[in-house]
Symmetry: D3
Subunit: 135 residues, 6 copies
């Protein structure tokens, strides 16, 4: 299937990932520097939730992706797709997972499915080109 994936808004999509990454990082620093310890603890719990346990990080990231898809949050979708690609989620696995999000959440999910496919392609391409996939 990967062959069928042709570039969309090529460098533009990567720029957009880069912009997202920088904004996310800058604002997270501000939030964590706010002095509110409970928000800080929430952020810690949030990243811990996806660490390997009885379930693998790959499965946990797929859980995060589908949850983000049905709740329709593009930034969260982007975040989990980056890790999914790092964890080696294949196109077949990716489309089976987002199909569950589509069935559960309905056609209102479709605009976010478009975004998800764009981000997934961009990340696959970056991985193939040996570019760093981090947030």
């Amino acid at each position: 299937m990967e062959k069928e994936i042709t570039e969309i808004k090529g460098g533009q999509a990567m720029d957009s990932l880069e912009t997202f990454k920088k904004y996310r990082q800058k604002m997270n620093e501000k939030i964590l520097a706010s002095g509110n310890k409970q928000i800080k603890r929430f952020f810690t719990l949030d990243s811990r939730a996806y660490e390997k346990g009885a379930l693998s990080t790959k499965v946990k990231e797929l859980l995060g992706l589908v949850a983000s898809l049905v709740l329709r949050c593009n930034d969260c979708i982007t975040y989990h797709i980056i890790t999914c690609v790092k964890e080696g989620v294949t196109p077949e696995e990716f489309f089976e997972a987002v199909n569950i999000g589509l069935i559960v959440g309905g056609s209102i999910v479709i605009p976010h499915l478009r975004k998800a496919v764009e981000v997934y392609e961009t990340c696959l391409k970056m991985k193939k080109e040996g570019k760093e996939l981090t947030l």
Copy 2:
């Protein structure tokens, strides 16, 4: 009422419709080419849902519009307004329908109501100028 409608961000709004249309088309092609048959079938079911049956396409598109409004999805709102204008929904009908979305969904719907009115005006203008209203 149409007289009261003065142009807002004129050509800009049409450009934005055009951008939406191209992105939507390109990504839909990619999604349908992914090889996942269930997603493909969902897309078919999605378009079938608005075909004329016991209820007219006009009523069905209004149902799709109000559902998209209360679920607060700009892309879905845009999609259904384009067809609503094609189906001849008048300003009075349009505002009565979105008022139901506003009452059911509350003030959180207002930012999407603004978008809906902008898109509706743009589509009305395009129709008057004989421009093609398609997706």
Copy 3:
């Protein structure tokens, strides 16, 4: 289609409609007696939204039904179905409308679709037996 409709939890469902009606009425009275004028005005706006205008009450009630279905609120679904039946919505129209709710809102809507079909059948039965359909 109506022939295929066999009674489900027969009198029980009607009892449940009756219980809903009484609770709704009693609590609405309390809310309106609370002295908060804005809530009172909201309730007025809410009932006005479904009055005949450029769109018929029937279409408006279908809009309210589908909005309630995708937002997954059983009480609101029940409310709009009662009026839909009074307005003469046929089974074919009913199922086409709820199908749009199902497609837009996804499988998460299904438990509410079950409830909707149960309420619709009960109301149809009450109408046939000449029982009053009010709230």
Copy 4:
């Protein structure tokens, strides 16, 4: 205004609060005993969020109440109303707060507003009778 408040489903509503309290307590114990430390930490963060800080517990509980109202969760609404009554929220304050929830969240909130008013009345009555308001 309190004078206008007449008993609704009197002892029944209190029984229902008692049932809620027991089920909540029993299940929370099971969840906390599950061995999953992250869920345990989340529960701690959850209760900490409403402790007095720069904002009073009363204001924080009103924030929790309105958030629960617009997200339409009866159990969460019940929980926050119990503490609101303990913190001395007056009927005028209560109805102004829930009115904001109603305006923001729309008519889909109304069934939960009914429940909220029922729970608020029950808790006021319990307080007046010197009954313990705990969870």
Copy 5:
């Protein structure tokens, strides 16, 4: 951990599963008999989504469970837990998955988490006693 699981509302919870199962089956039959082919196709797509593919049924059911949890639908949660138990999801896996639902969806998810734990325990118990876990 299983040792820590003591019976809650024992036979009662099983009865409630049985009631859910019967109601679900009866209403699904009515919906499928309605003559609306699109709803029928949606139901087919819905069950197909969880069939083994590149992802296992176990992972797919966990995806369905977490999606149902963040969208806060008790019936859908119940449905996916029954299959999760059939697929051998262990308590550790179960709690890691629902923890992701809790972190993503927040404290508003907690009442549904309580229900999920109750259903999970009931299903585990039924499995241990050799009772049939079907829907």
Copy 6:
């Protein structure tokens, strides 16, 4: 804490507030000029809800902010933060309020929390520079 707040996307964020303000104003005028009286009344009710009553405007705006945060609407968040800053909400109060939104709504709220912090900083800066904070 204010000292820790360094400028982010400085003039850019203010421009974006200005753009939001103009678009909001222009579209609101169009909506109110549409001739639909019910929408007009809804808009009146909406602004009335935050006027001083038994609760202060400050508390009411915090209620509006947290409701907007858990419902994840950036425009509504922006609107309420502008008034919060005018009402003198301190950083400590702001972060305690949004922490409640985060706990109730979960990690899906985080992208909107980032936006909220950006808008809050921009408004604080404008206030310090004696710039007008209006909508």
